[in-house]
């Protein structure tokens, strides 16, 4: 009931500590981090996948990504004097941890393209660029997008840790709630963070369906692959 009162209090819907601003901060941090990670990971992974290399590298990268604690990296970055506490450290840490799922899925997607299909493209007189843009990438799209979804959900979820190093975002409510021993604030923050992550998952799942070539949709009827299964 206190929770209901908290959510319906207009004071919590405006100002620099209001829900809209905190949500926006979290979305902004996540978008920046995803932008950096995509810019670094996609070109490298597409090239490696196109050359049919990098499977081992991608696997190792995701193993390393799993083993290194996000909290540790975040706090190390925030403790480097030139970066300092706040959102910058969080964006960098989030970007670093988004790279492995992007790399793994993109390389897997590119290498999963049947070489016979590429040969058929060559026989039709397609140039190397056409084969990449019109055969390989569309066929790899489902897995690449699954990687983007995994990374985006992970980034949005982890962005709540920014509050631990003096940054903004929805994690602010949780961290402040623990500091003030305010249970309502903690729960409100937890609910908002969870809702944002679930919304992100939903949006990207939708995007995945829209961007998947129609011919591939039927084949994908069962579960979309998680980067983690059986690696």
């Amino acid at each position: 009931m206190e929770l209901w009162a908290w959510f319906t209090d207009p004071a919590h819907w405006s100002g620099p500590n209001g829900i809209p601003v905190r949500t926006w901060e979290q979305v902004l941090m996540s978008t920046l981090a995803m932008g950096i990670a995509l810019g670094v990971a996609l070109p490298v992974a597409v090239l490696l996948g196109h050359l049919r290399r990098g499977v081992l590298l991608a696997t190792n990268l995701s193993n390393v990504g799993r083993a290194v604690p996000t909290l540790g990296v975040l706090i190390i970055l925030a403790s480097v004097p030139s970066i300092g506490v706040g959102d910058t450290a969080a964006v960098l840490a989030l970007a670093l941890f988004a790279i492995p799922p992007l790399m793994t899925n993109t390389v897997a997607g590119m290498t999963s393209v049947d070489p016979d299909v590429l040969d058929a493209g060559r026989a039709m007189g397609m140039t190397a660029g056409q084969r990449l843009l019109r055969v390989e990438l569309p066929l790899a799209a489902p897995l690449i997008l699954a990687g983007i979804r995994t990374a985006a959900v992970q980034v949005v979820a982890t962005a709540s840790l920014a509050a631990l190093v003096g940054g903004g975002g929805l994690g602010r409510y949780v961290v402040d709630g623990f500091a003030l021993q305010d249970g309502t604030l903690i729960l409100a923050g937890a609910i908002l963070t969870a809702l944002l992550a679930i919304t992100t998952e939903g949006l990207f799942a939708l995007l995945e369906r829209v961007a998947t070539p129609r011919a591939l949709l039927a084949r994908q009827a069962h579960l979309a692959p998680i980067a983690d299964v059986l690696t």
């Binding site: 506490v85 949780v174 963070t193 992550a197 059986l230």
Partner: protein
Amino acid sequence: MPRPGIGAPADAANPWISWDYVTSHLDDLAAAGREHVLLTVSAVLLALLVAFPLAMLVRRYRVLMGPALGIAGVMYTIPSLALISLLWPVFGLSPLTVVLALAVYALLVVLRNTVVGLDGVDPTVVDAARGMGMDRRGILWRVEVPLALPAILAGIRIATVSTVGLVTIGALVGYGGFGSLILSGFQQNFWHAQIFTATAACVLLAVLFEVGLHWLQRRSEPWGRERAR
């Protein structure tokens, strides 16, 4: 927010890597390590305890497959910070809060790999077993589970290594193993040596689990070892 130092050295002498820190804080590190291992193992065991019966259930009643994996998937999406906070009113500042939250994440990985592994068993092998007169239970335990073991162990390995990293978030409720050292190092005026040592120790622990469980996984596929030779 970082507050000015208790026990933290002056800024000029604040190295990231300090052997001195390690030798003078062996007790703290050992205590944190014990807690870290205990939290990790309890969470993974709890996940196994739930995932196996659930996997059997889902395989017997296929209609449950979608909902079970779906619900596990949604729970997997919930940020660890949020999940720990949601459990906190019920279980308070206790290790149970951390263990339950982490078990939720391990559950999805183990459940998926177990179902995928069991489904991947060649149906002709199952037919052969049935032809030999094995009953359902015999087929499950003496044919399907051994053949699916590598996939199941891969799930356990991935879940365990991920859990080692996630335990650090438990620092929020005071039970985070090395995470508690990382966070308190940060709050004690950016005590670089403590932050770095605890992070490195956490990675080392994850690598140990990875190597050990990977070895176990290789041992579980005798056909794989034959090929390797």
